[in-house]
Amino acid sequence: MSFRARLAVALIAVVLIPLVVVAAGVRGEMTSRLTAEYQRRVEALSAVIRQDLERESASIAGRLSTLAAMLESDNRFRAALKGGPDEYGAAERDYVVDYAGRAMGLAGLEILQLQSEDGRIISSGHFRAEFDRLEPELPEALALTSRGAAIARARTAEGPLIGLVRADTARIGGRAVILVGGTALDSAYLGSLARDGAIRISLELPDTTIASPSAAADSLRSAPAGAIIAAVDLAVVDGGDVPLRPARLVVAHPLDELQAIRRSVDRWFLTALALTLVAALLLALWLARRLGRPLEELAAKTAHLDLEQLDVRFDTDRDDEIGDLARVLGAMTARLRAGAARLREVERRATVGDVARQVNHDIKNGLAPIRNVVRHLVQVAGDDPHALPGIFAERQGTLESGIAYLETLAANYARLSPRLDRQPCDANAVARDVVRDASAAAAPAVELRTQLDASLPPVLGDAVVLRRILENLVGNAVESLGPGGGTVTLSSERLGGSGDRTGGGVARLTVADSGRGMTERELAHAFDDFYTTKPTGTGLGLSIVRRLVLDLNGTLRVDTAPGSGTRFEVELPLAVAAAPSLPAPHVSGPVPR
């Protein structure tokens, strides 16, 4: 795990853990307090509703009592009842059948039916067409209730009607007429009991439930949150084998409001969590960058350190651990610099020693014949002074040869460190001079040829250096031909242009011979200093050529094989980014001697 990741994880953990603990605590405390408050509210309301129902029951009883008195005093009803349904005229029939409807409206009831002693419905206010129905169960069940009131189902043409009903009795002509009446316990009535839109009142019967039409009821049905409830026990007339069954009025406070608050808290918590996460990440990134950047800079500087480049500085003014580290690295670099200087001095001294030993050896070799000739001449001068001119003449060639060797040796050593004067120069002109001089000194069996590109632009270089390069290569080529002679060809050509990979273009100078070629081993050491395969060679020719070509920012390539001759290609940059020019014919042919 990276330093930045570790820093981010640590920051997030430090910030989030307290936040989660606080949110959980607030949520739990809020739930506990609200639940307790809801419980108090529903219990208080259920007590009020119980009193409401008792008052309503007493009111129904009073109205039924009044209606019974009115019925007993109604002579038209009395006469019709005495005659019986079969003796009704249309007017009497309508009067009796409509009686309950009129009385129900007068008394402010929503359920009212008049029944004979045997339970047959004489007149029904809530369902006019239900006359003649035999229903003794309802008044019998009402008689069993402790307070005289019960929940009962009434029928209407549009469907069932559930209400709180009581019964009373009127005595007419020695016969009893039972009045069963009450008020509807419908959704609207339950809603009026609730008094609070947030509370739901529902009447739970054995086979159905009626609920108040509050908005909370919808949410209660749809949400699985549940509710805080309290119940009022009632009895319902069932009409089956068991006359009365338990029912209950449930006062419920849905927890959807609490759930909404919880969801709101959760939303705020998640929002705070997200913001904190982002802030922690940004802070971690900032800190990591602030701490990591100096380390990255130290690492980058350290990556550049090697023995050839120890001038890296680790200066700092920080007074922290990173500053200490920079100072340690700076001290380490200083120690490395001192060690490298000592190492280079040792190497220089070793190299100078090698050169000195070589020079000593070469000079001794060059001086030995000279010293022998001089001793011989001294001896002849002492023994036979008259023979001295003849002997001198005889040994003069040896002297001159030794002196020439030493001069050549000195010149070669001097060439180890040439001085560059880089400027545009005509490579073709230099090539022609070199070939002309070489032809003059070469054996007759050697043929030197040129194939020069007349349109070759000037190259960027030094004419003396370029001449030394070509003299060495041509000289080596001539020497490689052997006694049988052969052909040496010096050619020039222009490669590429401004648009190719060579940039401004290069000039290629090629020295090819038909000599014996080189083996792989010879080629591997061909450019080493002092390596030579020739009895009179110094081993510095190709070494000098390689250095000079590199000094001119050129390239040198060799193509050789034993018996197939050797081909050296020198590519030098052109002096100017020459404009494209028409190709010119190559000039080729034997070089005149």
């Binding site: 249309a90 309508d94 369902f127 067409a129 129905r133 035999l134 469907g159």
Partner: protein, 473 residues
């Protein structure tokens, strides 16, 4: 369809034909239900508590329309309470020896309300107008008139399916003369009481224009939903009502007379998904119908045969399957929204369906209408009259209570009138989807001395008053 085989101008009626003298209807004492008025009146005000729709001409759908239409539109012949035919629009009628067709001659001066003369071609065109206006699917006319050919300006020949000695069918209101529709929505007529040509449409007051100055105009005030007692107290000379309270009120007052208008409405149950081959009426039970009649406010009795929809009439229809009932829903028994009697009957059916089995009416209901008693307890629900003709809407109901005129003398017209209100798929199988329930009658409450009234053979009343001497039309 009616075949018109003559063109105008037509030859005059053959000379020497026995043409009775034309004139207004003859009032006979035997048919008087109210004595002639003793008190002159500028206008007779008749209050109606049911809606009156001129689009129903010539077939009324309630007692109010029946009263209004009978005063505005002339039938070809009149038939009094004794059954005797009298001239009306026709001045003469005879069947030449050896022929089936009747040669009919208009009276000498029949005129439309706009004073244009009425021709024989107008009469035949009027019947076509009925077909186009009142009952679009009206092949029922073929049951009344097989063919008609115009012989002259006032003479035409008519072949009737009924080969009786007298052309009693020509006294039917279904063949009454009604012409083009006026801007007021009323068809042009030719009766003794007319309407002003420029009367506005949709008016709740229909004021007639009498053809002569001997009788005052009649103002029909349409007041649906109003208490009839209030209308009487407000000065109405007559009231058509079936409200028990109004009738009881009238009976208690000596200046008012209560005249039954006859058992003119029949309530039936349309069972859209009804199946089986047996006619519904065969399964009818008197106990059930009596129980249903008891639920109706006002006078009602069990429906009695013959039933119009069981008459073989040349009805045209697509036939097909009964309406498929919607499965799974609470069964509904429907009634037309403004029909209180229909509502009482629907509710009584709902009540009987939930009765325990000991009730004879409940037992009869289960036997006759298992669609109602099987399954869940039904509920009653109102529907619009337009929904009655919608097969999709009707499929929501297990049964619907509707009313139809009691017209034993015009069963095909009655049948067509009922069929036209139902989906086309039910029209050709009325006897299988209709169950008769009860019949009701309305009453005319009339102010004594202000109105005279006669009754015709169908029980329809003709009202008249008298004007002060010198009063002009």
């Amino acid at each position: 369809m009616i075949a018109i085989t003559g063109c105008l101008p037509a030859p005059r009626a053959p000379a020497g034909d026995p043409v009775p003298a034309p004139g207004p209807a003859v009032r006979t004492t035997a048919c008087e239900v109210l004595p002639p008025p003793t008190e002159a009146a500028d206008r007779i005000v008749v209050a109606l508590t049911e809606p009156v729709d001129p689009r129903h001409v010539p077939l009324p759908r309630n007692a109010s329309e029946r009263l209004v239409f009978s005063h505005l539109y002339e039938s070809l012949l009149e038939r009094d309470c004794t059954g005797a035919l009298r001239p009306s629009l026709l001045g003469a009628w005879r069947r030449p020896a050896g022929e089936r067709a009747w040669l009919l001659t208009l009276r000498s001066d029949p005129r439309w309300w706009n004073e244009a003369p009425v021709s024989a071609a107008d009469v035949v065109a009027s019947w076509h107008g009925h077909a186009l206006r009142a009952l679009p699917d009206s092949d029922w006319l073929l049951a009344l008139v097989e063919s008609a050919s115009i012989e002259g300006e006032r003479t035409f020949r008519v072949t009737l399916p009924d080969t009786a000695a007298e052309p009693t069918v020509l006294a039917l209101p279904a063949l009454a003369l009604a012409g083009r529709t006026l801007p007021s929505g009323w068809p042009l007529g030719s009766g003794r009481q007319g309407l002003a040509i420029g009367a506005p449409a949709g008016s709740r007051e229909i004021v007639t224009v009498p053809a002569s100055g001997e009788v005052p105009p009649i103002e029909f005030r349409i007041s649906p939903g109003r208490d009839g007692r209030d209308l009487l107290d407000a000065g109405a000379d007559a009231l058509v009502s079936d409200a028990p309270a109004a009738l009881e009120y009238a009976r208690a007052r000596p200046d008012l007379a209560v005249l039954p208008l006859g058992w003119d409405r029949q309530y039936v149950l349309v069972i859209p998904a009804g199946e089986g081959s047996a006619p519904r009426a065969d399964a009818a039970d008197a106990a059930l119908r009596r129980s249903l009649a008891a639920a109706v406010r006002g006078e009602a009795r069990a429906a009695e045969p013959p039933f119009a929809w069981q008459t073989a009439c040349p009805m045209r229809g697509a036939g097909g399957q009964p309406v498929r009932a919607r499965a799974g829903a609470v069964p509904r028994i429907g009634y037309l929204r403004d029909d209180e009697r229909g509502r009482a009957l629907a509710e009584r059916l709902v009540a009987l369906a939930s009765f325990a089995g000991e009730s004879p009416a409940r037992t009869a209901l289960a036997a006759s209408l298992p669609e109602i008693t099987a399954g869940r307890a039904p509920v009653a629900m109102a529907l619009d009259s337009a929904s009655l003709a919608s097969e999709a809407r009707l499929s929501e109901f297990v049964a619907v209570v509707v009313s139809t005129p009691v017209a034993p003398s015009d069963p095909c017209g009655t049948q067509a009138s009922l069929a036209a209100r139902l989906p086309e798929s039910l029209r050709t199988q009325l006897d299988r989807v209709i169950f008769p329930l009860v019949e009701t009658q309305s009453h005319l409450i009339a102010r004594r001395g202000r109105i005279g009234a006669t009754r015709d053979w169908r029980g329809s009343l003709t009202l008249y008053g008298t004007t002060a001497p010198g009063a002009a039309r």
